[in-house]
């Protein structure tokens, strides 16, 4: 198993706050890697640094053997690493179907002169194939009836699904999901767990930041725990239960029924 993403010694400070401090971890190809930790542990900042939305002070990010730290978000995205955000960022004024079609990025077809000239026969054939692929994915996510709806009119849960459908449409090498379960009910949660497992089946490896531990336990192969900007542990979820540092900083925060009795 090779590391698809390797983060080494990443640091970032904002003013006097060291948000990410010597953060190092790796995510293997074909696996789901969880990234957990208490609020303020630096998880979201780490994602921003990896995906190019923020520039690290020091450290390297190696994606498929290439150093990508400091590159712009669109260049990293074009290399096959796509991220989501804590709040769903659908394109609200566009239809659900348009959201999917745009998720499949075709730099040549979006050029000005090409757009003036109109698509070639081969491009039309390809566009029709993309359209039917978008429909298949929408059907899979139960969104097919909503395909002509403005994405902004959808419920919060449906927007999450649209984001997942866009990832499937883009079919990147790696997706980084930033708290996808935020505000999602248990029934939809089950569907999203299936979808995350579906990413791997479709050839997209996953890094997932999440506070919902049952969800993390269910889907991840490996978990990286961060606290105060550092990685304090990593390994399979079960192995972390017995790790005192993890329990102290994060798992221990969860109240148990025994506490309530005492």
């Amino acid at each position: 198993m090779t590391a698809l993403l390797e983060v080494r010694g990443l640091c970032k400070h904002f003013g006097g706050v060291l948000a990410v401090n010597e953060c190092s971890f790796s995510a293997a190809e074909g696996q789901i890697t969880g990234l957990i930790g208490p609020n303020g542990a630096g998880k979201s900042t780490a994602i921003d640094l990896i995906s190019g939305f923020k520039i690290p002070d020091t450290g390297t990010v190696v994606f498929e053997g290439n150093e990508v730290q400091g590159r712009t978000p669109h260049r990293i995205s074009r290399m096959g690493m796509i991220r989501t955000f804590q709040t769903p960022r659908e394109w609200p004024g566009l239809s659900v179907l348009e959201n999917l079609i745009l998720a499949h990025f075709e730099p040549r077809r979006e050029q000005f002169w090409r757009s003036m000239r109109g698509p070639s026969h081969a491009e039309k054939v390809d566009a029709a194939a993309q359209l039917s692929r978008a429909r298949t994915i929408l059907e899979e996510f139960g969104l097919i009836e909503l395909r002509n709806e403005r994405a902004g009119n959808l419920s919060g849960g449906q927007k999450r699904l649209v984001e997942f459908a866009r990832i499937r449409m883009a079919a990147p090498r790696l997706v980084i999901l930033d708290e996808p379960m935020g505000g999602v009910n248990p029934v939809l949660g089950e569907r999203m767990a299936t979808a995350v497992l579906g990413f791997v089946a479709a050839g997209t490896s996953v890094v997932i930041v999440e506070h919902n531990l049952p969800f993390i336990e269910r889907v991840t192969d490996k978990v990286v725990v961060m606290a105060e900007g550092r990685v304090i542990a990593d390994g399979p979820f079960d192995s972390l239960r017995s790790n005192q540092a993890v329990v102290d900083s994060y798992l221990g925060e969860m109240p148990t029924y025994d506490d309530a009795d005492a």
Binding site: F85, E90, L102, S115, K124, A127, S132, I144, R166
Partner: protein, 338 residues
Amino acid sequence: MIDYIVSILTEGAIFAIMALGLNIIWGWSGDFDLAFYGYVALGAYMTLVLTVGPATSPTEYILGLSLPFPVAVIIAMLSTMTLALIVGSIALRHLRGIYFSIVTLGAVYVLYIFAGQFVPLFNGFNGVSGLFDPMGDVLGLGFTAYPYFYLALCLVVLAVVVLVVTRLSGSRFGLALRSLREDERAAAAFGRDIYVMKLKAYVIGAALGGLGGGLFVGYLSAFNTSAWSPVETITLYAAILVGGRGSTRGVLLGIVVMYMGLQEATRYLPEVAGHASFAPAFRLILTGIVLVLFIRFRPQGILPERRLRDKDISGTGGTASVAVENPITGPALDPGAA
């Protein structure tokens, strides 16, 4: 009466070209540009100084090359695009929303003061004049026939602009620009180079502004800084908003309603003794009221931007029933391609 109709149609066609340009910048890629009328003015000035002869004392201006009108308009468009490239590459780099607007407002005021104060450029506040009935003498058109010719010319140019804009709007380029308007961080996350795309839209939009300016000055025959007020930009924005932001048909309708309609509606107002500017002022007040009403009750405009409608119910696609009603992605979803 017929003269009046010809003149209002000519002005309407010219303003429609400008509004379609501004619609690319604000309607598609979502940047509230306040420098736009500066591009119109530069297009107008450049067309003037390229078509008229050399300056004679006491007037002063650059060039004076006596070029044919169409050549002058094309060069004027190119200079407008150059200026937009400079302003856009600074303002679009990191600034968005109100901060972008402030910088573009600053840029247009620098241009305004420069054109007004630096006399050797465009003859200062007095402006440049002398472009009478462009192409009229070449075509042997008389004094009475000329307005009809110029109206036809403007309508033909407008038709070409509408064709080009419609094509772009329905292309992947046009759709991708809309994604920047809707959420540019998501657009970047899915591979779009936001800066380059926004800059392209900005320069294309400004080019149409320059074209509109060139035609406008052919109609006015002269241009100076007093012909160039910030209010004009507001009229263009009002037309886009009322007609339907992002929608080509909407913008055309917006010009008819907000420009020609309001002009017509306020035409027969009684004259108020001692207040010569009553009608124009009332027109502005009316523009403001209509704007407020639309923002409150119909912010998407009369003819909103149309979304792609996928009517295929089988959901599997790939058959001849890949029927797409509106072509925001247009040719991309051509039924024949399946």
